[in-house]
Symmetry: C2
Subunit: 506 residues, 2 copies
Amino acid sequence: MPPVVSVNPRTGEIREVFGDESSPDDVVAAAGAAAAAAPELNRLGRTARASMLWRMADGLEADAAAIVETADAETALGESRLRGELDRTAYQLRLFAEALDEGSYVEAVIEHARQTSLGPQPDLRRMLVPLGPVAVFGSSNFPLAFSVGGGDTASALAAGCPVVVKAHPSHPATSERTYAVLAKSASAAGAPAGTIGLVHGHHAGALLVQRSEITAVAFTGSQRGGRALLDLVGARPDPVPFYGELGSVNPLVVSPEAARTRPEEIGAGLAQALTQGAGQYCTKPGLAFVPDGEDGSRLCAALTRRLSELAEPLVLANQGIRDSYFDQVAELSRRKDVACLVSAARTGGAGYRVSPHVLSVPTTQLDQSLLEEVFGPYGLIVRYGTEEELLSALRRLEPALAGAVHSEPGETDFTRAAVDTLVERVGRVLWNSYPPGMAVTWATQHGAGWPAATAPHTSVGVTAIRRFLRPVCWQDVPAELLPEELWDNNVTGIPRRVDGKLNLGA
Amino acid sequence: MPPVVSVNPRTGEIREVFGDESSPDDVVAAAGAAAAAAPELNRLGRTARASMLWRMADGLEADAAAIVETADAETALGESRLRGELDRTAYQLRLFAEALDEGSYVEAVIEHARQTSLGPQPDLRRMLVPLGPVAVFGSSNFPLAFSVGGGDTASALAAGCPVVVKAHPSHPATSERTYAVLAKSASAAGAPAGTIGLVHGHHAGALLVQRSEITAVAFTGSQRGGRALLDLVGARPDPVPFYGELGSVNPLVVSPEAARTRPEEIGAGLAQALTQGAGQYCTKPGLAFVPDGEDGSRLCAALTRRLSELAEPLVLANQGIRDSYFDQVAELSRRKDVACLVSAARTGGAGYRVSPHVLSVPTTQLDQSLLEEVFGPYGLIVRYGTEEELLSALRRLEPALAGAVHSEPGETDFTRAAVDTLVERVGRVLWNSYPPGMAVTWATQHGAGWPAATAPHTSVGVTAIRRFLRPVCWQDVPAELLPEELWDNNVTGIPRRVDGKLNLGA
């Protein structure tokens, strides 16, 4: 096995070498430990699992300084962003703890025996139970919120599913440090050994998703990586759900009036959105539709100027992402029908440092080859003439995680047409706002059709828990053998549907 | 294209020849019509779609005599069972109409803009919207309730998704007759052309699931057929959800006390359960665990006697199912360690008539080769010694749609152990009852892990609608551009979660 190496992306130098990547035996052991833990983690119940999530949040905060320092050394995302990400990770764990206490996520239903027009109906009670061990793939771009202790792990543990994380190779030290906090917190909360596991290495990840103990896979990463894992999972004798949040090219529409009244503001906002986290957001609005004419040109000029004035260096997470960035922008810039507004030099400086790259093209020239996701500070401006030209271009887009419309309050017809067209293909539609930045709430949606994601679910927000649950129906089963959530007397006070009617419980 | 042929399974004779199977052009046209209908069917709204489902139910009931007669001629399931199935189909359509009126299925969530510990949170509103055109594969064993107008179609239409059905070749005339009623009802309700379509033929089905317009596939049928379609869907450049309800071997456990006190009753119940619908139920309890010793032997004798006294002829749906039945039972009976309690003669009589076949084996001899589903009136009795021997055998079983425990009220520990072990691998667990027969309710669960099904969802009951919906989040979008379900003023009176708290609405 090759060694696990932590690299400083600001210099490209190795900062630490761990042991070897996980062996096949390590993977078998991790999956086996997770399977052994599953029944006990389920029996712990909602209250004890909530307390485990609280401990994990507290533990991450207690170790925040060291985690953030390690993550910054490995990812160059900056201490301020990483402290924010750690806070978000702890907030997320606690939000799932609250959802466990609230209990509606089990979707408890009771149908008492009764006569129907079809004859007698037995006593039927249904609720969601944990699916089983889940494999979680950490992402490159969020070393905390979408990695070892991120949303996939939090939602799976909340559901009652043990987790085996495959660490992202861009931040092994952060992964190990986070893992240590989670494992200690789980143990302190009385959760079984095997509640959380960690493996390193590409090969280990591929083996992991093929293990029969693994009952679902959650992945945040590239289309290529996601597709390869999906195909492995699909080829299992017993395929299991694969929840991939892959990349997407997220459209942002600027209306004629918005371009006229706010060219500077939107140019600046777009520059910020394209370069935040060095452009390594899956919700980056990398495809901006800007009207033809002087107003649109003013907006483009503002964008260009802002990008040339960037104070912060932009450092990508690893060499692979840096090389892909340069290769993709070079390939895109080769086209004769594409204008270059801002050009990234091939040698961006030390380590994996890069500079922004922005191209511009008329809607008439927009084709699929211009619509591949480019991870990093890249954007494509699409100049449109009529509203019909704009809508027709939007209708040809693949599903995306997010789509934004910038318009003025008086432009209701335009805004409605743009919003409705986007709703047909995006998971989140924003008005006068920029997608990177997503609150973790009950209302969050992070997902859309292929290639943005692989299943009609969200990977962020409370409802992400639904991915790791399966329904069970108890028919005529004596009360003492039912889960307490399904007793006639609503002892746990959760919302339930009884004889067809929803009630709020306590 | 080969012709579409309706066969009388009682005689094996052709009763009617339709035109040719659907051509590739027919499939393209059907998928295109469904895609064109999708936005309009969504815009119809919940109330109008509910009224469409009511019209469909009324239409089926108005045409009941002819539909039942046709279905009986094609399936030999008998008029009484088919009249019940038609009533169930109409009931199911109306239950989804009620769910549309109730509205909780859209899972509406409103989070008003507010300050959080992480900073300002925007206004976020989320609900589920239709996925798009759905391909539905009719089943062989339920020509009405799991076919053209069955649960998959009802739940997809309720969700707002146009449906293209691939008719099962065992009952093309029933499929055409049902389709005519549904298409007429949809049109009368103001739904767009393309709301429901129908294609015939194996090749057409394979083409259909590969059409980019199709956004989800619902299938009820064999593991082999389901696996083949799943692989086709998985190989699409844009994979979509495949909801397959495949077969399963459903365990039924008889406790020592139950065998002692009710050998006749349980023997008779099992005989009925194995032969109902000629044993063509995916929930047939084909694997019965019976205690060693005299009590268990009395139960087996009762089962054997009841099966030899059958009044009704058992006719399988088509030649393929009949041939598989004979091949499988012959293969299984060849084993030296297996005792034959009831033997089906290779030539069962006219048409696709067969007789029951029941084998018996000790738990020690139970292996995977004895655990393949046999469609038809076949059962395997497994004789167990100790409770531990029983539980250990149950733990080795693959996931199943249903599992039953027959025990006495005093045997709480035994019952608990058996129920809990079953819950880990079945979708529905029954006490002192037999699985074929499943009520359509909010609490229904028809699904389980692979190979019983392909996704952790149900294909029967109100929550089946969730398969055909995807979440969308509106961020900071002006009220007049939101769906009415998400307005601050709850004009539609549906249950919603507002700022974290569930409320019941009107």
